[in-house]
Symmetry: C2
Subunit: 631 residues, 2 copies
Amino acid sequence: MKYEYLTNEDLDIAVESYIAALKAEGLCPKTERVPVFEAAGRITASAVYAHICAPHYNASAMDGIAVMANKTFGATETTPVRLKPADFIQVDTGDPMPEGTDCVVMIEDVVRDADDVLLYGAAVPWQHVRQVGEDVCAGDMILPSYTKIAPAALGAMLAGGVLEVLVVKPPVVGIIPTGDEIVSPCTDPKPGDIIEFNSTIFSGILKEWGAVPKTYPIVKDIKEDIISTMKKAVEECDAVIINAGSSAGRDDYSSLAISTVGKMLYHGIAIKPGKPAILGYAGEKPILGVPGYPVSGIIVLEQIMRPVIEVMTGANLHMKDEIEAVLGRVMTSPLKYREFVRVRIGINENGDFVATPLNRGAGVVTSFVKADGIIDVPQDCEGYEAGDKVKVILLRPLDELKNTLTIIGSHDPLIDEITDLLKIENKDSVVSSSHVGSMGAIMALKRGESQMGAIHLLDEETGEYNTKYVNKHFPNGGVILEKGVKRIQGLMIAKGNPKNIKDFSDITRDDISYVNRQKGSGTRILCDFLIKKNEMNSSDIYGYDREEFTHTSVAAQIASGTADAGLGIYSAAMTYDLDFIPICNEEYDFLIDESAYGGEKVKNFLKILHSDELKDRLTRLGGYETWDLHM
Amino acid sequence: MKYEYLTNEDLDIAVESYIAALKAEGLCPKTERVPVFEAAGRITASAVYAHICAPHYNASAMDGIAVMANKTFGATETTPVRLKPADFIQVDTGDPMPEGTDCVVMIEDVVRDADDVLLYGAAVPWQHVRQVGEDVCAGDMILPSYTKIAPAALGAMLAGGVLEVLVVKPPVVGIIPTGDEIVSPCTDPKPGDIIEFNSTIFSGILKEWGAVPKTYPIVKDIKEDIISTMKKAVEECDAVIINAGSSAGRDDYSSLAISTVGKMLYHGIAIKPGKPAILGYAGEKPILGVPGYPVSGIIVLEQIMRPVIEVMTGANLHMKDEIEAVLGRVMTSPLKYREFVRVRIGINENGDFVATPLNRGAGVVTSFVKADGIIDVPQDCEGYEAGDKVKVILLRPLDELKNTLTIIGSHDPLIDEITDLLKIENKDSVVSSSHVGSMGAIMALKRGESQMGAIHLLDEETGEYNTKYVNKHFPNGGVILEKGVKRIQGLMIAKGNPKNIKDFSDITRDDISYVNRQKGSGTRILCDFLIKKNEMNSSDIYGYDREEFTHTSVAAQIASGTADAGLGIYSAAMTYDLDFIPICNEEYDFLIDESAYGGEKVKNFLKILHSDELKDRLTRLGGYETWDLHM
């Protein structure tokens, strides 16, 4: 049975009417009383008033003597007033004001004369007294309803004699993972198994929102089991999320279970990803059907579950900073859907934000790990041109973005290792690196999207690396080429070389399946150079059009047995325990924007690049040579 | 024994050398392994690499048939290729690619012919296949060290076969409250007792920073007890905070205890508040002596403990948004100290931020509850003029500030009640109200600091309220006067009227102590009007210069027995169970900036002002009359 979408509803309309329906059923925050000592970060469920004044007594604000001010009246520099011991009492700061006194004379202004004191100036009533209620008065409202309790507010409450506070009770949200192919992350997965990590992601998100997730064991695609688990979850929880298998080509009992236990309001929302979402409820309890792909799931939670949790918790969860950014490249979007596109954000030399869309696959959860923000593309928008200004909802603090070193270009694990070493040295450092190949590095620098990028571009004529490309693409300068490392490129082949591959020219053999790198990558250019040099024909290579984006993904295809050979670096072959036929020792260098070159971020990067720590790590990875002039 | 400050060190220098000393002693994050399921929000302690590829198998990305692409080569619209049942296998989306196949032909493109299929187009190897490692490849770095683990990263780790992760272990921070006068909030405080709420504030702050607070029982000012508790805490915790009594006029064994158990690096930092801070350590364990006033304590934690916790947790805790704001009024600052001033922030009609300093008393913890931001005034700065541009470190999200309705003016509990009702109706609403009196309302509106303010200004000649003042101060308009409520003003006196006060003129009696309101407040103007009308003399009133800022604080002084009478509203007298001699029924109205009048925030406020819910609350408070035209 395929998914049958009943609706293709506009997101805003769907959420608004969903919330309205839930409120009509009685959805509202539950409450509980907690001791103030444990109330940090909780949300008040009603206004909090002070029971007592703080301070609760009049206290001396100085070291000195406490007196009645009217007994000092008339004192001047020439005619002091004499006070007998019965008329004054010595006090320290913080002491309660003694009965029958209303001000403090500072010890510096008190002249002793045997047991008496002489004052050469009149006091004003209540001078140097910290009066009752200076901080808060009994009856004053300390916090209104639905306010997050900050640490200082705990102090204000305790000072005001409030020991317990009525707060919102965190809603319990049940999560039901379903699907025949779903297995726990703790099992060793077989082909066809899908590792169930959505419930862990959803739990993490729900906790951030102040809810308590409760994950049920995985339920197979058995109608009765799904319905009975749904019934149980609705009984035990305040809201339920049912996580379906992928939307198409699979049995789907989510909608059936929701309809059986409660009501289904929408099935199918005009968003991408996330279309198969189901909005339902049983009484006042929301039930959300969430699609199986993790990115779809996160978007559906963010867009639909978050406003529901806001109603249930009284918390304001939706205020996120929005910035305007320049789009780095063309981005198309379907007219049928409102699309949420994850982007990386860089800052160009003019200080403008530049947004670069990430992999839009609904199964690519790492796109959310890498994302700095999200572009919300309206339904009636076909997309944007490169250079268009777009609004980006930030997923990271603005300050962090401003501190980010943006590296776009060829990929090598050493960039990740440097990122890690930078973090160890300075926890504030943030590196954002995108793998778009060597030519991508040049283009990104030209567009001002990045501060630096790695390149390893072979000049077919001279056999030299990088210099000629830089001179050609930056005839007026503006960039600086910094030597990186030498690394061994070669042909990665299965362990033990079962197909008996001798050299690069063997890849045209009929029994060899090749896996290539994407156009514009230095390794692809090397591949084409080798084809030309060996007078081969790319159409003779089975899999020439099969493109991967990193060395490790090429290695992964060979290790999984779906390809016999592919070009890549030595360290990737080692990681996947592959055999390796070395071809050349290439120069992997860093091209750096001139305006960023002298900056702290690039300086720190280069310091690590030339450090012993990195040298050690590269030795462990294998296949690298560093430039001695830097060592 | 008075505090002897050994040092008056510059804050930045002190913190830098403190951190350096701690690191030299070996301070660094501790680590622990936790299951990924429980790792949300934790900080990675080393780089996390994928163990397996995700997806871990090649999967069909479509419903269709899986084939070897080379068997389809040559197929065209006119010359189809026929595949025998042995040459194709039917697959659904997500199914693993069968052995001996390398692409999927969509079901729509498959023509059945008995058991065979006909294809009218050639397939490309790996078309419609979701390949191994599309999301993440084995060996790829998923997260670098010292990175906060977001929910999506949990999914990426589990997908990459990572079940456990090395994270930073939250440091345990001991908190030792000390002082003879300190009592638990659970006890009924006697005069001279100081309620111990600092440890609760500090615990809340430490939890926000990812540390685990451990509060010890209150220790009296007994040298041996303080030293032995310090020893115990240093043994049991990773860091220790000792909270002293107030700095002057008290026994102080904090520095002694620190010197006995470890070393003292600084005692006295040139900041205000917070000067008495002590920076010490025992081995690699930081020991911080924190002054007793809560505001000083919070500042010392923020400025000194936070960077220490950053070293201990690897978390980035210090990135806060900073804005530029116009200072609303003159603000002086001592040259001897770097001062941290808490401010409210409003937005004027030009969209500029306007900062208004809050009560700077070190004991006024509510100033932190009310604060929107902090101005960091350098040591060599004497302060700023009204209108100067200042940098403000934000304590609230910028978006929240932009949504805030800023009310500056006369105080009445009804403003707090409306704030609460607005929150109940719409959890996003934020009201910031400052109590500066009726004339303060007019000044704040003139300076563009507020959107509205309450006034109750009696014209002595006509006996009319508000209109004449508005016309005088806004001859060219720009504001709208909206009727608020009528409320009863009168003389608040002790319960049972022990001093037999009959009317306002009695307050000049020798045996009567009066408590007044601040200059510029409507109630002060009423007081002066009554003095004039009754032909009294203000110099005959004992306590005429004793100024309080709210009705409740006047009532609090009378209730505490330190004053016999004060002008105020009926509801304040009721809250404090005082007797009340009614004097007039005044008109408490709202003056609203014209440009804000039509806006959502003001509209919502006025809607609540005229609501039945507020009417009910005012009835409970007592002494109010609402304007029927609005009801």
